[in-house]
Symmetry: C2
């Protein structure tokens, strides 16, 4: 997806949220916001929103001198999700439709996104996870399950810390030998990196790789050769979150996108109202 | 009021609304938004939000080659207000508290603000005016009425077209010989200029002057000497709308601000929730 005009005020607001999240110093906040606006004024609208966020967050980390300002919230939400894990796994095991329930929980976990909303609470996540159990999602679950059944090489693109713990439940439903999980190559927002995959214990189940990039999405030109090899060779790609959707929605690969719809631009693009828990097959798959 | 960090995403969003309002050409919209962001990146946070809007709208008018892109909506809302006028005047005349009712209608008219919301409808205005008649406003009406009773030179700072027709009803309750009404010196957004004051028939009642400025507020350093003379000599200033409040809130003159609270920054600043119809005496009056 290109950046739309509607993305601009939202990206500026997200940058302000991020600025306030990483520093309480008003002078530094003003300095960062002026730089944000300067970067935005030179933005290439052909690029996706995550390309903008990548630039902003690089500069933001540089100014505050902290290579991973979201480390603490990543740990908090990993821990929360790990606390909830045994109970949810029990429900999944006891369910008549374990695959479907695991999928729903993995999508609901996408609520833990500090890019869109820097005010996520532990209770908010708890409620989102418990609400999804009896709620429908939008999308063709049978089609996805059939695709999994046929796949020989599955690449699972994780999105956020905390969420990745819930991803584990879906990964446990996949043919483990076929699965590689990719996380961000370097810290960006609260997006999951190798440490978070390890914290979720996913490295004990399947191969985990970093994608070599610090964008909050999958900008292929910014990814490592190792990641690109996996991307090319996968016959099924599972893509979590809006950032991955924004950067991969036009790709010709066999991608199933899973996300919570969190902004009006994505809502219009997908035809699904805000808040939808969405499973969406790539339109451009050859 | 200074510009706050929270004003930035809002000013960018308002600029996008304005851009879309004045042109449907996506390339021009992108060009304008890039310029908006460039101007914003160099913004002096000591200045008020209307100083930013003034710069943006000057450039916007220049790019589209139209010195008054809001002319049509100004006419539309003047006409709507004139249509409603006889009925409301009748209600005021028949009321036990005509001064209070005229004041309430003048404040409710402040809803016609294309700066904050470019999607104002004729029905929205009709509803706002009819709702105010039985609703309370926030503020000390008796204190204001007493100030009017004592005043020898009243300067009435109008805000928007359409709204200025409702202002007429309040002006009719004032000692007409003491009143001067000031409007913007040049077109900016849907703010009232001399033409709108004439359309409302206010020039038939009292002296009307332009303030010499094209800011959507009252930036004294940008106003004409004629306006400044009236401003200095007034012993009571009636100030309509957020833009005038944002630019005059710290002044030592005897000012009564009247506005609908339309943004979170003003809500926090005044301690009044969004949507409040507010009458507020200047804190810094000596």
């Amino acid at each position: 997806m290109q950046t739309t005009l509607d993305c601009i005020p939202c990206l500026v607001r997200q940058s302000l949220d991020a600025t306030r999240f990483v520093t309480e110093d008003n002078d530094v906040q003003q300095q960062i916001m002026k730089e944000v606006l300067g970067v935005a004024s030179k933005m290439d609208f052909q690029q996706s929103p995550p390309a903008f966020a990548q630039l902003i967050h690089r500069r933001l980390r540089e100014i505050i001198g902290d290579s991973d300002p979201y480390r603490k919230v990543k740990e908090t939400f990993n821990r929360l999700a790990l606390d909830l894990l045994p109970d949810i796994r029990h429900r999944i095991t006891a369910s008549a439709h374990p695959f479907e329930l695991a999928l729903k929980v993995a999508i609901a976990g996408n609520v833990i996104d500090f890019g869109v909303n820097a005010n996520i609470t532990v209770d908010g996540v708890r409620n989102a996870i418990s609400a999804i159990i009896d709620s429908p999602i939008q999308g063709d679950i049978a089609q996805f399950q059939a695709a999994v059944g046929k796949a020989e090489r599955i690449l699972y693109l994780a999105d956020n810390a905390g969420e990745i713990v819930f991803d584990r439940l879906l990964i446990e439903q996949l043919p483990l030998k076929s699965v590689t999980v990719a996380v961000r190559g370097n810290p960006i927002l609260n997006d999951a990196t190798i440490e978070d995959a390890e914290c979720a214990g996913i490295d004990q189940l399947v191969k985990v790789i970093g994608n070599g990039s610090d964008a909050p999405g999958t900008i292929l030109s910014d990814c490592s050769n190792e990641f690109l090899k996996h991307f090319r060779e996968a016959d099924l790609i599972i893509s979590k979150g809006q950032g991955n959707f924004e950067t991969l929605s036009r790709r010709p690969e066999n991608i199933f996108f899973m996300m919570k719809v969190k902004c009006q631009v994505i809502a219009s693009h997908t035809g699904c109202p805000l808040g939808t828990h969405l499973l969406l097959k790539s339109e451009n798959h050859r």
